[in-house]
């Protein structure tokens, strides 16, 4: 194999600087600020990416009432994103706004769960994904209300009110579609089986989670599991759906290793900001 030529760019540093304000996370990994920044982007990226996915339904839902409800859920999640990512930028202290974080990071800097970036497929799949997420999101926010950082507690309290409604709605639809017709039951069973391997990531802690939990800033993810298990068991039983046996969990989203789908999502989401850098909208 021939050796590859060296390409020297004499003004590489200047070029990198000109490439935009602070696109790289510059906080030292392992520092308390970096841990908190990571924890906050995990929350905000979940709502950003899932909110985006849900918003893809706009104008295409099975009934008008669902168009309205889906837009409402997406709207709540975009609002929550502004709060989480806004605080993340503040904690980082390099002048990045929520918009900078949403529109100017590349996929490997996103910290959302793999579950939320999975494509919509059909309405049943979208609702099952929402339900599995909501059933985690609600107890997660409840726990965050008690954060040692008041700013986190405030956001969690506000978001929690909205998410209680999201869970009520997604659970109700999972029941109705699971225990509806033969066809709808089959579709919901398929959705559950496809999404199940993406649920486990919600409860897996890495060293950032451990340190955040130690500081009382964010809960240990494993501690959310009993509440989630209980909700899921109750709703699946009513929906006449069996909880899949496998405990296999795809993971990596929280650390920035995503599925192929995220890059495509970001390509459309970030397009204007990337195509016209520095413009105000």
């Amino acid at each position: 194999m021939p050796s590859l030529p060296d390409i020297m760019t004499p003004d590489a540093e200047a070029l990198a600087k000109a490439a935009g304000k602070g696109r790289r996370v510059t906080l030292p990994a392992g520092s308390p600020e970096h841990d908190l920044f990571t924890g906050l982007t995990r929350m905000g990226d979940n709502t950003l990416i899932l909110g985006h996915r849900v918003s893809e339904w706009c104008g295409h839902a099975p009934v008008l009432e669902e168009d309205i409800a889906l837009a409402n859920v997406a709207l709540d999640m975009i609002g929550q994103t502004q709060l989480w990512l806004g605080l993340a930028g503040t904690v980082e202290g390099h002048g990045r706004s929520a918009d900078d974080l949403a529109f100017l990071r590349d996929a490997w800097h996103f910290r959302n769960l793999l579950l939320v970036e999975r494509p919509n497929r059909d309405f049943g799949h979208t609702l099952m994904r929402q339900f599995l997420f909501d059933a985690w999101h609600q107890p997660m926010l409840k726990a965050l209300e008690g954060s040692s950082d008041d700013r986190i507690g405030e956001i969690a309290l506000k978001a929690g009110k909205e998410v209680a409604y999201h869970l009520e709605r997604s659970a109700d639809l999972v029941i109705r579609l699971g225990d509806g017709t033969e066809e709808s039951h089959a579709k919901m069973k398929d959705a559950l089986e496809r999404l199940w391997p993406y649920a486990g990531e919600m409860f897996l802690a890495d060293e950032v989670d451990v340190r955040l939990a130690h500081e009382g800033l964010m809960p240990d993810p494993a501690g959310i599991r009993p509440a989630w298990d209980e909700t899921v068991a109750e709703i699946l039983a009513e929906a006449t759906l069996n909880r899949p046996d496998s405990d296999f969990a795809h993971k990596g989203g929280k650390q920035g290793r995503h599925t192929e789908d995220l890059g495509h999502l970001l390509t459309s989401m970030q397009w204007l900001q990337r195509a016209y850098p520095g413009a105000t909208w």
Binding site: L64, E65, I68, A71, D99, S184, A279, W281
Partner: protein
């Protein structure tokens, strides 16, 4: 406006009843669904309100086209809220039409099979972010022109729907104008996009009012029944007079070399849109007719299993309730 060229239906009712009905309309009384009304009044209203409702629904598509590409979180939230409002408008209007004895499903089937229309404006594409500004500013702006007088329409449920809707529409128009302002005062490329959006949406917005109807028998009947309040030309003139200074403020040029202030009439002289293009769009040959209707057909067909499941589940629940009673 969202209801274009709605033909009024002939009526073969008892002349005494008709006369009493007209007297109520003339006295600005509201006609309620359970009360007697001429058959033509009912049919015309179903067509007009149905077309208006369909416009709100199909109107979600050109704007929904930019939700996933909105440039900031705030713009995304505002656009989502707007499209959600439009779906809500569709819902109120379908409910108003249902009081006249037609179901929402029937109206939907008629839309999907092409037997009922929606406003021609939604057959134009949204090509840049500035188009989202132009739609709010011009399309919602034109809709308001038509809907504000309809708050006083003779049919109670329609009038009440219009009162609710108008509040939100004026909000939409302001948000659209705000986008245009940012674009027009932004980078040279943004300004170019803003001008381009105005160039493309100006004449289609004028078409929203429909061709001149000053000599139309149908319009005369609808005006007598107060389900149409102004002529198309009156509304178009008002719209132009309101919009021209707004464009000037943005520093944008209305794409009409004939446009000028006419002191004598106290309004602008302006060029008519190309009505042959309007009729083409109405016949189904607008740039997006086929895409719009196919998107709605797909949503309806793909959603059939969901609607069936909801009905099936409700029946199961009802059966269980009876069994335990």
């Amino acid at each position: 406006m969202y209801a274009q060229m709605v033909k009024s239906e002939a009526t073969n009712d008892d002349p005494a009843l008709l006369e009493a009905f007209q007297a109520r309309v003339d006295a600005n009384e509201k006609i309620e669904p359970k009360e007697w009304m001429p058959e033509g009044y009912r049919k015309t209203l179903i067509r007009q309100i149905g077309q208006h409702a369909h416009s709100e629904i199909v109107g979600q598509l050109p704007e929904g086209n930019w939700i996933t590409r909105a440039p900031t979180l705030e713009r995304k939230a505002i656009l989502l809220a707007k499209v959600q409002d439009e779906a809500g408008h569709g819902l109120y209007l379908y409910c108003a039409a249902e009081t006249l004895g037609i179901s929402r499903d029937e109206m939907t089937e008629m839309l999907l099979s092409g037997r009922m229309k929606y406003s021609s404006i939604f057959n134009y594409p949204t090509l840049t972010w500035a188009d989202i500004g132009a739609v709010g500013w011009l399309v919602d702006g034109a809709a308001i022109m038509n809907q504000v007088p309809l708050q006083r329409t003779s049919f109670g449920p329609y009038s009440r729907a219009m009162i609710r809707i108008c509040k939100e529409e004026s909000f939409h128009q302001r948000q659209g104008y705000d986008i245009m302002m940012k674009m027009a005062k932004g980078t040279p490329e943004q300004k170019e996009m803003a001008q381009d959006a105005l160039n493309r949406f100006w004449y289609p917005s004028l078409m929203m009012f429909g061709p001149s109807d000053k000599d139309s028998v149908h319009s005369a009947q609808s005006m007598a029944w107060k389900i149409k309040i102004n002529t198309n030309d009156e509304l178009r003139q008002k719209f132009v007079d309101q919009t021209v200074p707004q464009a000037e403020y943005l520093g944008l040029t209305v794409p009409d070399p004939e446009l000028k202030w006419n002191e004598e009439k106290g309004g602008h002289d302006f060029s008519e849109p190309d009505w042959s293009e309007f009729y083409d769009v109405l016949q189904g040959n607008g740039p997006c007719n086929r895409d719009r209707i196919e998107a709605r057909q797909k949503a309806w067909e793909d959603g059939a299993w969901v609607r069936d499941a909801m009905v099936a589940h409700a029946e199961k629940r009802a059966a269980k309730r009876i069994a335990t009673e």
